[in-house]
């Protein structure tokens, strides 16, 4: 049983990562990743929605009929997003002022409906919750990475304003990577998002290919290098 969970984790975090492999949810990805903190906040909010929507949809999967499943899923997801929106507005107001505009976009994040269709509608509650959590964390990882690269290149800082998201205790995360940096505006503007995403996807594919080659070599230890 436990290897189902480890497989789900590996799939979600890396092999089938929402942004880097499925290339889904690009609207919020491009919109918020001008800094690492924004990426992290958006990622965590999406994770909360994915986790709860997957578990709820999985628990009602036997009641929901094939014909009307899409509207049912959408209404549930939209409700969860609104719940995240109002609770953030009430209890994390500083962050809401930064991300508020984008929270509603989670409804339009096809990855959430995608996981409901592809996984939660066919699997029991716990694996579905795990899938939602891990897919969400994979999404968070992707958004934070893109945000970090754009922020370092664009503004010379890393995790600026992290205390708005995580509380005053985390202000140690706010780093000034390049002192007296004049900024590279392109990276903060939308084209920077596409550029960074493109390079990161390419980087992931290089890593995957190297790993696959090493796996092949490891599987055939006696094979001589073939000169062609």
């Amino acid at each position: 049983m436990s290897n189902i969970y480890s497989r789900i984790s590996k799939e979600s975090l890396w092999d089938n990562n929402i942004v880097f492999a499925q290339i889904l949810g690009l609207c919020p990805t491009m919109a918020v990743t001008s800094s690492a903190t924004n990426g992290l906040g958006m990622g965590l909010a999406t994770t909360a929605v994915l986790l709860t929507s997957n578990m709820i949809i999985s628990s009602i999967r036997n009641i929901v009929s094939e014909e009307v499943r899409i509207p049912v899923y959408i209404v549930i997801i939209a409700t969860l997003v609104t719940l995240v929106d109002v609770s953030m507005n009430a209890w994390a107001h500083g962050l809401y002022k930064v991300l508020g505009l984008y929270i509603a976009l989670i409804v339009a994040n096809c990855a959430v409906l995608g996981r409901a269709e592809a996984f939660a509608a066919k699997n029991p509650v716990l694996p579905s919750g795990m899938d939602g959590l891990m897919m969400g964390l994979g999404f968070t990882f992707a958004l934070t990475t893109i945000g970090a690269v754009r922020e370092i290149l664009g503004a010379g800082t890393l995790f600026a304003d992290a205390h708005l998201l995580l509380g005053q205790a985390f202000s140690f995360m706010e780093l000034k990577i390049i002192p007296n940096y004049k900024g590279f505006l392109l990276m903060i503007l939308p084209p920077g998002g596409f550029l960074v995403l493109g390079f990161l996807i390419a980087g992931k594919r290089v890593i995957d290919r190297n790993r696959a080659q090493r796996a092949v070599v490891a599987a055939t230890p006696d094979a001589e290098p073939v000169a062609s």
């Binding site: 209404v75 109002v86 107001h93 505006l185």
Partner: protein, 210 residues
């Protein structure tokens, strides 16, 4: 009839959708009630903090409760009044101008003599790195308004330098500061026009002063 057969039924779809809508609406209604007070408190705190920034000093009333609705340059304006011992000492209100990428919303504080105590941009969509120098966090430009009034500089100097005025523009962004200057000037003219009503005075010496 088992669930399998029931699910194929036409009426089942309606009941399912209706049930989903009912449950989700109930959840939203509950959440709205649970968060309403906290959201209002957070927004009020926000307002108070921005008031404190444009209006330094101590006042002995609650600005959020002492308001006045008037017709301003961009439609209805809510004016918040700060009093000391019952007398209106200063005012805070919102002014808006057109920037490069849409409306720029500012709040400005003004004392009873008509001098600006502070201006801050609260919402804008200007280009990051160029137009966003109007934010106090990015540049000190916005502080240039402090202490200014309608006569200082003279009315025709209330513009960016490119238009013959006294306020700096930014390299690569003239439309943005022009919008802010125009908004602040509009705010001052609004004060001048409604002075008696805003300051809540009907004493003859105040009217003479006007």
């Amino acid at each position: 009839m088992n669930l399998e057969q029931l699910r194929g039924n036409l009426a089942y779809q309606g009941v399912l959708l209706g049930g989903t809508a009912l449950l989700t609406t109930a959840a939203l209604a509950l959440a709205a009630r649970a968060t309403d007070a906290d959201i209002h408190a957070a927004e009020a705190l926000d307002m108070k903090q921005s008031f404190a920034v444009v209006l330094p000093g101590q006042y002995d009333n609650d600005l959020l409760k002492d308001t006045l609705q008037l017709n301003g340059p961009n439609g209805e304006v809510t004016v918040y009044r700060a009093r000391r011992a019952g007398q209106v000492e200063a005012l805070v209100y919102k002014v808006s101008g057109n920037g490069y990428a849409g409306v720029i919303d500012c709040i400005m504080g003004i004392d009873r003599s008509g001098h600006i105590t502070g201006v801050r941009v609260i919402k804008h969509k200007e280009t990051p790195g160029l137009g966003d120098k109007i934010e106090a966090a990015k540049n000190s430009w916005i502080f240039a308004f402090e202490g200014k009034s309608l006569g200082d500089p003279a009315a025709d100097k209330w513009a960016v330098k490119k238009d013959g005025g006294v306020f700096d523009q930014f390299a690569g962004a003239t439309i943005t500061p022009r919008g802010v200057v125009k908004a602040v000037k509009g705010g001052l003219e609004f004060f001048e026009k409604n002075r008696a009503q805003l300051l809540d005075v009907s004493a003859p010496k105040e009217i003479k002063h006007e």
